[in-house]
């Protein structure tokens, strides 16, 4: 904490902040500070579970405009106070935690829907809008963002932009970075800038991509224009059980290489099929790996694509057809996996080691991560599914789980064990062609591994950070950048 509440400087700074956003929009209540001290990252959850004090901000600001944010940022620069943007607080990497105290800029008041351009099929909104609210608003007019992650109910659009989030229909509609047309950003020194109005151009390097995934370290994204899509006439799913994970992966990769256009593909390894798919669906499944995919769009085109996809699954890879019912079950229950008690929860220790690699490498990554977890932590379970598929490869959503009896009671020991799993597993991913994350971001959790991932390229990122944020006020200590 940089500003002690007992210091009169606390009141001096509060006066300046209140002058900018109004008294109602500067919170210093214990309840609000507490609410911003825990996100969806296991470490602060565990810390609270063990009765420990979680790091809290000094001030929580609810700005109403980019102009107000710019002024707050200037005050923060003047006093060298850390500024941490907060959307829905549902990030799993600790990216929004106020680990050095300072000012939390809670973006949820910036929730204005600015309209749909029906010619260009785009929607513009402020980034504090909860994604579910934006999607509902688009649905009312017959459109969809097609960004439908499990966290849609809790995360803001800005949160997804800040860490390059992904939804369940990413295979056809892309990750959030593929959906963005342009951004408005408040820079760390308090300037309000706009990136170019279109994402495809030859007008120099792409500033939009610079800010996407920057996790609040390079500025605060305040407004976005996203692509929208008409609601499809049809969306159909089909599922298969394959004898093993390798066969299922080969079938999925072949589906992608065929250049059919599935909207979603998901493959669960044998372990996750047995323990989780069965539990959530409440149905018996044969032993093996469960693969589901779907197509959407015009009905006749969906039917045609489904016919070709079935040929790949059935003739070439001998998958056992679970029919459209087996696929629809997944679509209907896609979020159920993330509700308690289906989601892993305290006092278990668990984490999502998501990574992404080409089809040439993805199985190597999977086996390397599984091996390192199994060998070093025999008390842990390792499960995985492959949830976002691209023309060239797919994402591995690997998870490790320690049951309560294997998690140290001492919070420091528990944190050390937890970090060790990440270090070993992520290093195994990097060594085999993976990266440290696919769609949850880096945050506090993985920052220490950024140098290993980027190697000699890391100083390029550090140079950009230094240039944009000379006082290092924006979300210090995240994304592998230096702390306070």
């Amino acid at each position: 904490m940089l500003v002690s509440k007992d210091s009169y400087m606390y009141e001096m700074i509060r006066t300046e902040l209140t002058d900018i956003v109004g008294d109602d929009n500067v919170c210093t209540r214990d309840a609000d500070k507490f609410g911003h001290s825990i996100d969806y990252y296991w470490i602060p959850e565990m810390w609270h579970d063990r009765g420990m004090e979680t790091p809290k901000p000094d001030f929580i600001i609810h700005p109403g405009s980019a102009e107000e944010i710019a002024k707050v940022v200037k005050v923060a620069n003047h006093y060298h106070i850390p500024v941490v943007p907060w959307g829905g607080g549902s990030g799993s990497q600790g990216g929004a935690l106020p680990v050095y105290g300072g000012i939390i800029i809670d973006m949820k008041r910036m929730n204005k829907f600015k309209g749909i351009d029906r010619e260009a099929l785009t929607v513009t909104c402020q980034t504090g809008m909860i994604a579910r609210h934006l999607e509902w608003r688009c649905n009312k007019e017959g459109y969809s963002t097609m960004h439908l992650p499990a966290s849609i109910a809790c995360a803001t659009i800005g949160g997804f932009l800040a860490h390059r989030g992904t939804g369940v229909l990413s295979t056809k509609y892309g990750k959030i970075e593929d959906m963005v047309m342009s951004l408005e950003v408040v820079t760390p020194t308090g300037e309000i800038i706009r990136t170019l109005p279109v994402p495809r151009h030859a007008s120099g390097p792409d500033l939009t991509m610079l800010f996407l995934g920057s996790e609040g370290t390079l500025g605060i994204i305040t407004e976005v224009t996203l692509k929208v899509h008409p609601q499809p006439e049809a969306r159909e799913f089909r599922a298969y059980i394959f004898k093993d994970f390798h066969t299922a992966m080969s079938a999925g990769a072949e589906l992608m290489r065929s250049r059919l256009q599935p909207c979603a593909v998901r493959l669960y390894d044998e372990e996750e099929t047995i323990h989780h798919v069965r539990k959530v669906f409440g149905m018996e499944l044969d032993k093996g790996a469960y693969l589901v995919f779907g197509f959407d769009g015009r009905k006749d085109i969906v039917d045609c694509q489904m016919r070709y996809a079935r040929e790949i699954m059935e003739k070439k890879f001998k998958g056992k057809d679970l029919g459209s019912k087996g696929g629809e079950l997944w679509w209907e229950n896609k979020y159920k996996f993330f509700y308690p008690p289906f989601m892993f929860h305290m006092p278990q220790a668990f984490g999502t080691l998501d990574t992404v690699a080409t089809f040439s490498n993805i199985e190597k990554v999977y086996w390397a991560m599984k091996k390192v977890v199994n060998e070093n932590f025999p008390q842990a379970r390792f499960i995985g599914h492959f949830s976002h598929w691209y023309e060239w490869g797919c994402m591995l959503y690997a998870r490790f789980i320690f049951e309560e009896e294997y998690v140290p009671k001492d919070p420091r020991e528990a944190a050390a064990l937890y970090n060790r799993v990440w270090d070993l597993a992520i290093r195994a991913a990097i060594a085999n062609g993976g990266v440290i994350n696919e769609h949850h971001g880096v945050g506090l959790k993985l920052g220490r591994l950024m140098k290993e991932l980027y190697g000699p390229a890391m100083p390029v990122l550090e140079g950009i950070k230094k240039q944009l944020d000379p006082n290092n006020i924006m979300n210090p200590g995240k994304l592998g950048f230096k702390g306070v």
């Binding site: 579970d49 829905g88 109910a153 809790c154």
Partner: protein, 344 residues
């Protein structure tokens, strides 16, 4: 502690974000604290550090919850953060930490008790304080009853236990409920009809919890009016705003929509979804006495979601919602009783 009866909700809600988009208060104050996740995590903290029960910020956060139960209805496992919140309020009261505003509301509720029964007949209509405040709902009910030629009694005068219960005074709530049950028994009525969904929920669920068996069958007006088999003129196009108590507390009670179907109403979807609570804090019953500024924000939030705020007809099941939507917005709001009375 009362919160110990809600271990499931504490453990499952404290780190879960899946219903945060439905937090009515969170959506107007934009605060993280006013979400089921943070309230549950805060209460977990109290189990670890009991001295935190006295924290005034925590207490105020508990008392400004909308208690809409939209979270519980939405949750795939229906974890009861609502019940947890009320249990925590009860612990606050029993530990002697209730703020003055809570004590004053409870004292006022206890003082207001003065039961009066008028009229005759097998039907007893309970005109609670919110129904009475509208001045029009009971009149509409009377018009329909006259048309149907059904004699009825009315009962007015006090808290039947709901408000005291949600404030954290279950003993006093039970005492109030017992007195009301006696009033009902003495009336010899066979059917007890209520317009206020909060009263309906109290009589159906809370009384059972208190071990009180009512001598009359409890019906919400929307259920009772259908039994009269009246012929209605076509009500036309309208928006129906669900009641927290009838939808989220009573498993999406079918009677209001059935009555609207009898009225041949063409119900248009309001706003963007049917999950959020559009009630101005009906579930919290006395929220206007705790923080009327929040109620005003909730009303404006609803107004902003109307397709055409000047023209749209919004029908509500709750007199409470009508009062505060009318007070703080320009929306045209009618209760089910008023709509039915206009179309007989």
């Amino acid at each position: 502690m009362n919160i110990d009866n809600y271990t499931d909700a504490i453990k499952n809600c404290r780190f879960c974000f899946m219903c945060r988009h439905l937090s009515a208060i969170g959506n107007v104050l934009f605060t993280e604290a006013d979400t089921p996740r943070v309230r549950a995590a805060m209460i977990y903290g109290i189990t670890q550090h009991p001295e935190q029960l006295a924290n005034r910020d925590f207490i105020d956060t508990l008392y400004r919850s909308d208690l809409s139960a939209a979270c519980r209805y939405h949750c795939v496992s229906h974890f009861d953060e609502n019940g947890l919140n009320i249990a925590a309020r009860t612990d606050v009261v029993q530990a002697g930490f209730a703020p003055d505003y809570v004590k004053n509301i409870a004292a006022e509720l206890k003082k207001s008790e003065k039961w009066t029964v008028k009229g005759s007949g097998d039907v007893l209509y309970f005109e609670d304080s919110y129904t009475a405040e509208t001045k029009t709902v009971a009149k509409a009910f009377d018009k329909i009853m006259k048309k149907a030629k059904v004699p009825y009694q009315t009962v007015t005068g006090g808290c039947i236990g709901k408000a005291l219960k949600i404030l954290g005074f279950p003993t006093e709530a039970k005492a109030a409920a017992e007195k009301f049950a006696k009033v009902v028994k003495d009336s010899k009525a066979k059917i007890l009809v209520v317009s206020n969904p909060a009263a309906y929920d109290a009589l159906v669920h809370d009384y059972k919890e208190f071990g009180i068996k009512l001598s009359a069958k409890v019906m919400h007006t929307s259920e009772y009016l259908r039994t009269l088999k009246l012929k209605f003129k076509k009500a036309g196009e309208l928006y129906y705003l669900e009641s927290d108590f009838l939808k989220n507390y009573n498993d999406n009670c079918k009677f209001p929509r059935a009555l609207l179907a009898d009225l041949k109403a063409e119900i248009k979807p309001f706003g963007t979804n049917n999950e959020e609570s559009y009630t101005c804090g009906e579930g919290a019953v006395v929220l206007p006495k705790i923080c009327e500024g929040i109620v005003e924000k909730l009303a404006k939030y609803i107004e902003e979601r109307a397709d055409d705020p000047k023209k749209d007809l919004l029908v509500v099941a709750s007199p409470y919602t009508k009062i505060f939507l009318t007070k703080y917005t320009k929306l045209n709001v009618k209760t089910l009783e008023e709509l039915a009375a206009e179309h007989i």
